[in-house]
Symmetry: C2
Subunit: 165 residues, 2 copies
Amino acid sequence: MALTTKRSARPHGDHDHAHCVTDAIARAEAVCAEHGARLTENRRRVLELVWQSHAPVGAYEILERLRKDGTRAAPPTVYRALEFLMEQGLVHRIETRNAFVGCPQPEQRHVAQYLLCEACGDAVEIEIGGLARKIASRAAELGFAVAAQTVEARGLCSRCQQTGA
Amino acid sequence: MALTTKRSARPHGDHDHAHCVTDAIARAEAVCAEHGARLTENRRRVLELVWQSHAPVGAYEILERLRKDGTRAAPPTVYRALEFLMEQGLVHRIETRNAFVGCPQPEQRHVAQYLLCEACGDAVEIEIGGLARKIASRAAELGFAVAAQTVEARGLCSRCQQTGA
DNA sequence: TGCGGCTTTGTTACTCTATACCATGATGCC
DNA sequence: GGCATCATGGTATAGAGTAACAAAGCCGCA
């Protein structure tokens, strides 16, 4: 289960990833302000670390990096921050990897759907039109009331197909 | 993360669950025979234990039950059996629970989609027409080649809604 | 300005999930 | 019977997540 793939900070060709991070933080501040929630130093730092790449990051990897900062963090510190960030819609959990990734659209609540590259490790959030509704309505036909959905597809991104990974 | 919901052997009203188990084993034998794979005693036993209920079962719960049988099993024993059973399509993994459930349609390979009741714990495998194709084709538009999919919806089954769980 | 309640963080210890690694045994093929 | 392959045993350890309680910080308010 260990993720042996490499991490990339560039999901769709080269880009200024530092901008992704600063943008994510700025939007997080706006979202928290709107929700009346406190984006504390800890939480902000964890969010930054999640955004270090476009590949989902494990909680213990975040922990390690926090410790490199000189803080004496323990697992609950990280998990609590992640829980908060997920509540605010700033971070999503990738179930098939037990890992976390920043949400590019935190302003509006949505059902996250992901493409996960098995070669570079990147996660790309997509929204397939009508998919969430289709799942919910098929469930409803069976009398099942859907509260949350997980949709994750694993495979190869176009870049990794080309490089023959 | 511990699953605190109760387990049920009856996903859709009362039924003769013993029949589910014997049926699953019989079909597993046929599937393995066709694949030229060996359904050893261990593997058969693990499959039986997975089928003890329609709620996904954790690997360590299987381990515990194996030990009650008097065998001296260790985690790798269980995980190896589960890996084999998944390769044969006899068992599916429920990612959002880190647990395993028997497949009711092992003869034909398919993309498993699940409804997971948060009250009784049951998992119902469904196949929403066109959903897998829709995911794959939307991915293809983005240049992404899908190899595997996970679709899991959590909520309340009709029975648990009625009983006000 | 200091009290009281709430939220956030620290700390320890633990449970649960999963795999690496090496040794041993079974099976089938020739 | 010898050999390769597959399956299991067994130890140890990595990785993921949580319970429980203590301490610190923040905020509103008298």
